[in-house]
Symmetry: C2
Subunit: 425 residues, 2 copies
């Protein structure tokens, strides 16, 4: 029997787990990704806050697929331009691939809810380059502020607004709070830490609203200890001329707005079909993760939307769901006759707010403080791809912990023209 061609869009947790577990004697597997590396979103905020090198939370996909468990998989770099379900092809800028079975695991990107020009002016944390940029911008503000004599301009330069009280928002706000508390006094004599404002804005009535009330409260406490100004039930309406306008009409001058308030599936048009992405830009799937209305096209991970009684709005968009969906899908592809529906085993969720501060919900158990923080570090460390990365991250964490500092406040900004000329191409 000749092999089927399996194309997987996305080298994240979801995609890699399909590739790993699927039977290569049944399928020819191609992993497509716009980047040549696998990245680890839970730690983007640490790149943005100068805690880790981007390289240590990224892993070259070609290196990954040389591992035995991937034997029979090949990697192609390219950004998907179009998917044609009638001809069963996926096209990137460089090639057109035929597929027998297609797995869409492309994840999500930022959602600006159509707020005009927001994308141009806010900084985001949904990819490694975005995180690097955020780091650069924050460092740039501090440098400029330390040379700025105009008090109003200075206040604006030193106001860091984080929009969105989810894990990412809480974690980056906490990291900025720590920078204000531990790094500034030592390294920026020109800036009085009191001039630095870190503000966290959340639309609902509590931060981390996917977690327990208990954990939300503890997180708020920890953030307040880091002098983070938390504003609940507040949503942002517009941002122009360095001025944020909120739904209640109040305004705020801030040179730096970090947007973590919304995500949406990476939009693909499925040509030759009527199927469209559902809300949140996610593709509606059945219990086997098959995109509804299509055969041989599956969606897993953040971009999939499997609505059930337990999860009427679909599963949470977290790594665990992606991993478990990837594995289950691979099993089902390996024995099409005996498919089993996907069921999510919730292993809990956690968030960290600076040194020794974290919250974790595991079923009925709610941890916080140092234990939760240790657990958080351990789980993130083992989830990283590559031993080298784990070692380097550990070295950095230990270093940062004992020096109360971060070694990586480096403003790597391409020096004008030559760089852009290529990227413009």
């Amino acid at each position: 029997m000749d092999k089927k061609k399996l194309v997987i869009i996305g080298g994240g947790f979801a995609g890699l787990n399909v590739a790993k577990k699927v039977d290569k004697s049944m399928y020819d597997v191609v992993i497509l990704d716009r980047n040549n590396y696998h990245s680890f979103p839970p730690l983007f905020y640490q790149v943005a806050s100068s805690g880790l090198e981007p390289a240590s939370i990224s892993f070259p996909l070609r290196r990954e697929v040389t591992r035995r468990c991937y034997r029979g998989c090949s990697f192609h770099m390219g950004e998907v331009k179009s998917i044609d379900c009638a001809c069963k092809t996926v096209s990137t800028r460089f090639e057109t691939l035929h597929y027998d079975v297609l797995v869409i695991a492309a994840g999500t990107t930022n959602n600006f809810f159509g707020i005009a020009d927001l994308e141009k002016h806010v900084f985001t944390l949904k990819s490694t380059p975005e995180a690097i940029r955020c780091r650069n911008e924050v460092l740039d503000r501090l440098e400029r502020a330390s040379l700025c004599s105009d008090p109003e301009r200075r206040r604006s330069l030193l106001t860091f607004l984080v929009v969105g009280g989810g894990p990412t928002g809480v974690e980056i706000a906490g990291a900025l709070g720590e920078m204000k508390r531990f790094v500034l006094p030592r390294e920026y004599p020109g800036i009085s830490p009191d001039d630095v404002k870190v503000i966290l804005v959340e639309g609902t009535d509590r931060v981390l609203h996917t977690m327990s009330e208990d954990s939300s409260g503890k997180a708020c406490e920890a953030l307040r200890q880091l002098m983070v100004d938390i504003r609940l039930g507040q949503t942002m309406k517009s941002y122009a001329d360095r001025t944020v306008t909120f739904a209640d009409g109040t305004t705020l001058r801030a040179d730096t707005v970090i947007w973590t308030a919304g995500i949406t599936g990476v939009g693909f048009k499925l040509e030759g079909t009527e199927v469209k992405a559902s809300f949140g830009g996610r593709f509606e799937v059945d219990e086997f993760n098959a995109v509804k209305g299509l055969d041989d096209v599956y969606a897993i991970g953040d971009i999939s939307l499997a609505m059930s009684e337990k999860y009427p709005k679909g599963h949470p968009q977290v790594a665990q769901v992606a991993i478990q969906q990837g594995r289950r899908l691979a099993e089902n592809l390996n024995r099409p006759d005996r498919r089993e529906p996907f069921e999510y085993r919730d292993k809990g969720s956690m968030a960290t707010i600076g040194r020794n501060r974290a919250v974790a919900d595991m079923g009925k158990m709610h941890l916080h403080g140092r234990i939760a923080w240790m657990a958080w570090m351990f789980i993130h460390l083992i989830s990283l791809l590559g031993m080298r990365n784990r070692m380097v991250v550990l070295v950095n964490w230990i270093w940062n912990y004992f020096t109360f500092s971060t070694g990586l406040r480096l403003l790597f900004r391409p020096n004008r023209y030559p760089l852009r000329s290529y990227w413009d191409e």
Copy 2:
């Protein structure tokens, strides 16, 4: 007696050594740099060849100046736009600083010898962002080639031309040779290593012509073992439409040209004076490193030109000269009445060509092979700023040595628009 204002342009080896050694009870010291970090040029090529993270060969200048030996120094980030020797001021985009004593230690940048459009199309290794870019471009070529069916296009994508047979050229050519030999076969099944051409072009009759004949020969040998095609007595005339034209009229199609053939001082106009940069864009200085024709303006490091009997064309533009000039200048500034002329103590020079291969000249002694390689690693490791960096670099080197691989083949390319919009600003 009130303190003099000492402004140092450049946080490299030269500038930092002045700041460190100068008497802060006599001088108020400001270190000006266009970046917020100190970088380590000798290892840029390892960034470009995916061997090291840029972060591990860079060190935040603010962190550095918190050290005791710098107490009394402050750091300002900014690129110098103009120097006015009449009013004794230095201006950046953000501020204008008055100086009593000015030290120019801004180093050098690429020299394209006026070859049209070269800057747009070649890749260079004179700064961290340039090295990152070079890494990205090389990785990009490999990805494209592995998806390219047109044989001619493919050949061009896989031809890597290195122009300039100095240490940087030799080292990057060697690193590419190793990538071809060890990495490609494993990770790029779509590319046959034989299709990859690494070509090193040098204008003189030997590579490393600042070193001994002996070392040049050994370096050539090592490069040839890595299948690097060395072309001596060959100079490049133009590069357009992906085609290089050499002085002898021959042409070569190559998508990737790495230019290490020329450097020139970072050009400053010294307003209010007749003084101009001399050849190589370097400022002519006397034996005390004072810029000829100016009092209270000094130049040290790569940008200075001190001609003597022993060095009719000035000192070699290497870290050791910069360090020694910085220290001597500081001593002279501390006791203006008993100044001593600068004398360069040559500690030798070295270059490495991949694993276990290096050459080193120390006075009469010429080392090569593994011993030289070990010496090279040791000396570069201890020259790095920051213990954390040394640890991370060591981890990486050990890792790369035993895996015959480099963990950092990561194509971190800013994802279009939002990033550029900032840099364009």
